[in-house]
Symmetry: C3
Subunit: 430 residues, 3 copies
């Protein structure tokens, strides 16, 4: 790989500032507060629209605690989950914050444009959807973690959220498919979008690994902060935009139980496939969460508590086996270097969730059409692969400050880090 300049001094700040100014101008024209008492004129995510029931801005606040749970998943959950790399913690949690902060603004605009004419009204419900849209980017970020510049990642955010909003509109409004916990529209979409990008950015020079592409004891501990917050608040993620009442409670219970069952199977399979039955931290950090992904589409359906547990149980097995056996094959044979293994946490469990949704609708666990569910899964995968490929090609242009192979997985290329291994910055606060 040629020695592109990785100096971000003007490119990155100017791009970020212009992007933010454009965003503010768009908000000035198109966005106002939600005052309640109106319908958004469109049904979202679960084929229903809760806003129309809210005659006061106040009732809107009912969803606020769930919004905050989702917010924690986005900023702490995804951010710290990716801090497992020994020298990439600043980027993981810092760039996660940057991308999500821009992404939620862009997501508010993009989702608003597709949902009815006139002004976009910001409510807690819309804020949840805005946070959701950033999740797709953060999943894709995991696939290319350590191998991209902040500038490349802002471009990824811009393009992926735009694509997400189109697909989400098709799935929810045109196909009227169910996807309350977004197994298809967020998890599978984000994973395959990211994998397509990773394929485009394939680095032969990393074929034999990289000394910084691994964890140390403490970085694995930081990552567990992310894992546990994701695990705990996943019931909020899957139920936040479900219909109030029984469906919302169902989504909470299904996710709670699916994750619990998944944890048992992930631990068991991790021990089963490892040397001397030892547990592998990679599996525990990731595969324990697959139950939350896989139960997403069915979350608000009457699949029964044991049905949710079965889905979680299977997801934990599939995800752990994926980390152990499939990831090396994808890297060696398909040129897909998936840093965080998002294929195992979001990709396969997301597809499992989509398939479970087809079956559940077919068996009448929720009103709907199994065909439309299948179409929604196909649409999500299609937009992800095509959108990710195009985005990857754009990100590959040699003008975005992409790091050379030897500087991958290392904060010091984009952050002030003391040269001495163990030292940070002398703060210079005064």
């Amino acid at each position: 790989m040629p020695a592109y300049s990785t100096n971000m001094r003007f490119k990155f700040p100017i791009f970020a500032i212009i992007l933010e100014i454009i965003t503010i101008v768009l908000f000035a024209f198109f966005v106002e507060y939600d005052k309640g008492g109106h319908s958004h004129g469109s049904k979202e995510h679960g084929g229903h629209d809760r806003q129309s029931n809210d005659t006061e801005g106040d009732t809107n606040i009912r969803l606020y605690p769930m919004f905050q749970d989702v917010h924690v998943m986005i900023f702490i959950g995804f951010g710290f989950l990716m801090t497992f790399l020994k020298k990439y913690g600043f980027s993981s949690v810092g760039l996660n914050m940057l991308l999500a902060a821009f992404g939620l603004q862009w997501g508010l605009l993009m989702q608003g444009f597709w949902h009815g004419g006139g002004k976009i009204h910001v409510s807690v419900y819309r804020m949840i959807n805005a946070d959701f849209s950033t999740a797709t980017v953060l999943i894709s970020f995991g696939a290319v973690l350590g191998k991209t510049s902040p500038l490349q990642l802002l471009i990824l955010t811009l393009l992926e959220i735009t694509t997400f909003a189109v697909n989400e509109h098709i799935v929810a409004d045109l196909l009227k498919a169910s996807d309350a916990g977004a197994s298809m529209t967020i998890h599978a979409f984000g994973a395959y979008f990211g994998l397509a990008v990773a394929r485009m950015l394939y680095r032969p020079g990393l074929k034999n690994g990289h000394e910084n592409d691994g964890s140390v004891y403490h970085s694995d501990m930081f990552a567990m902060i992310g894992t546990v917050f994701l695990w705990m608040f996943w019931p909020s993620f899957n139920s936040a935009i479900a219909e109030p009442g029984v469906p919302q409670l169902t989504a909470v219970v299904n996710t709670y139980l699916s994750l619990a069952a998944c944890t048992l199977s992930a631990f068991a399979v991790s021990s089963l496939v490892e040397h001397r039955g030892k547990l592998d931290m990679v599996h525990i950090q990731n595969a324990t969460l697959a139950g939350g992904v896989a139960v997403g589409t069915c979350a608000d359906m009457a699949i029964g508590p044991f049905g949710a547990m079965l889905i979680g149980f299977l997801a934990g097995i599939i995800s752990t086996l994926g980390f152990k056996f499939l990831s090396p094959i994808l890297a060696a044979n398909l040129g897909i270097q998936d840093t965080c293994g998002v294929h195992n946490l979001h990709g396969m469990p997301g597809i499992l969730g989509g398939l479970a949704g087809i079956v559940a609708v077919q068996f009448g666990k929720k009103d709907g059409s199994a065909g439309m569910q299948a179409a929604a899964l196909g649409s999500s995968l299609g937009f992800a692969l095509v959108g990710g490929t195009i985005t990857g090609l754009i990100m590959k242009l040699p003008i975005w400050g992409q790091p050379p192979d030897q500087n991958c997985f290392d904060d010091s290329i984009y952050w002030e880090v003391s040269a001495k291994e163990d030292l940070g910055h002398q703060s210079g606060r005064y």
Copy 2:
């Protein structure tokens, strides 16, 4: 101690998978969603039943934010509090997650079996109680931390939650005693259950300490994450299942103030008993929480804000003195090696809470019988000691992969950890 095999390769995964499959089958037969509009037919924890007032599943969701606070205490609070050991962080937070994930499923079943006939209806209220039941196990886990295998701990979970459910039924339904914040049924129970197990698993070889049975600077910092989350959300723990309205608010206020007063006394006494008045991190991590434990039974009673503060103030003193002076005596003279000092955080403050409850009921701070309160305390201690002793004997069987003395307090016996001191795993994600 003979060199038992600690290879978990088949024992652990097979046991875990069979356990989970049995659990799923039991759920298929006995568990369904709560749809509201019915009574659970039984009064729980505080001698009241809120479910009967809920005619819609939706109103059920009212408790959801408090559930999430409790959830954070269980998975982040207990999990990270135990990461203080220098080489046992993976096990602390990882096995904490495993045990709680299985425990909440088992707790749902066990508590359901004792509360009325017919199906068990999962509601947010039941989920809070399920999480509560896991707290007993995590407290006991602290007493044996570093000295047991994952398999032994799953057995502990199974037996302790079963015992807990029996005692809880007796205390709440038969004795009709008050224990809103569960000083007796969770804290004292969990502590003495764990101490009885620790007594049974006594290791003479650790009499003179173990080089890994201590903290390093960073592990103490991780532990503070646990401490602070427990501290902050304890008002939710003590009020979550209190009666709505004034009693619930009372429980919030009492716990908030008890913890605040406890923090002052824990800091003060720590400085008073240490060399040159220095603070000891062990005390700060633990004794600052004793006020939450001790005010539990009285939490929803009209003991007055200053009454709550007095209880917390005393608890902080007792707990700190316990760490300093009593724990070494228990280890040296009674063969009770209590790794986390749960006797000081949960045991003595739990008994203090039970006694305070007797006094408070006697003085009419809540309707009830002081005698029944005393009986509840006795029942909790009795079930804990007998149950813990039997469980300890079962755990002592030389077939569960218990670690030899020299491998205690060390993740590397059950986890993939790089041999090099400071390195974790090379992730092998691709």
Copy 3:
């Protein structure tokens, strides 16, 4: 500096215990539970009083999730944000807890004394205000971090919260100024109070820096836990005491968007001013939060989503530039050694927030008087500077165990820390 005794063995514990006992006695006389159904007889913070609408203690609980978010900001947010120093993590998160625990009790008393006669009724609303009052102390703590003894800090807490309560009474009750998110009464007040204290405690010996006044990689990671929790829950901080309904939702939306825009500008400017365009962790940890501070006063005003974003965008720029260029000047020329740079995070953005509030009221975004807003800003700054100067003089008395220069920024002077660099305590739990 003369070698004062830093032995805390009797001074600190006796002071802390007497302080707590006095507080409990005051609570016994003046504080009772809120039972609803009455007015506090006074309007708080935003010139409104929500309590009067609550006829049941139960409805009071409506604010509980927002209280918990604020609680997390106080104990995790502020506590971990200050753990960036390489050897001062125990003190940062530990003393933060101590000061906040005492401060919330004192704040309940002080705010109660100014709000109507008779007893003080503790409600969730009052608990939020109590937590708020501690924020001023924790901000000031940041200015003197590493250079004061626990005893000095308790005195700071006592005096600053007393001063805060007087100013808050003047601003809200007499001037009837708007300050929903407390840009003026908490952020600017806390910052300038702390800077005045820092000026009084000026240490010429630290003019050329101190080897421990800096971060290491892992301490910066711990600090990010604080940053991200503050960032996420700031919408709760700014909206918690806003009027229910549209104003509260407005405060949530404004803060959410202000922070998002601020993050972009903070990242951009950090890259712009640093060597080779690299990002500086100090900026990311702090300046990304300036948008929450600056939008505080206007939070519940109809400034429009884009208006909030503009405020945040500016705040991110000002704050980052302050860290880079102004802090060194303050230290070199004015003798203000501001360890955490609170002037850049809370001081200037707080003033920006106050000014924005004057403009917004002038343009009719909320009923009120621009003159009164200006008077509120002046009052806050005046009380801060005078109160901080007097407090600093008292703290300077050579009887409080202040650390000598060479022991600054080092936990080991007040905490048991193993002499060996990397080791903590041998727990002595048994």
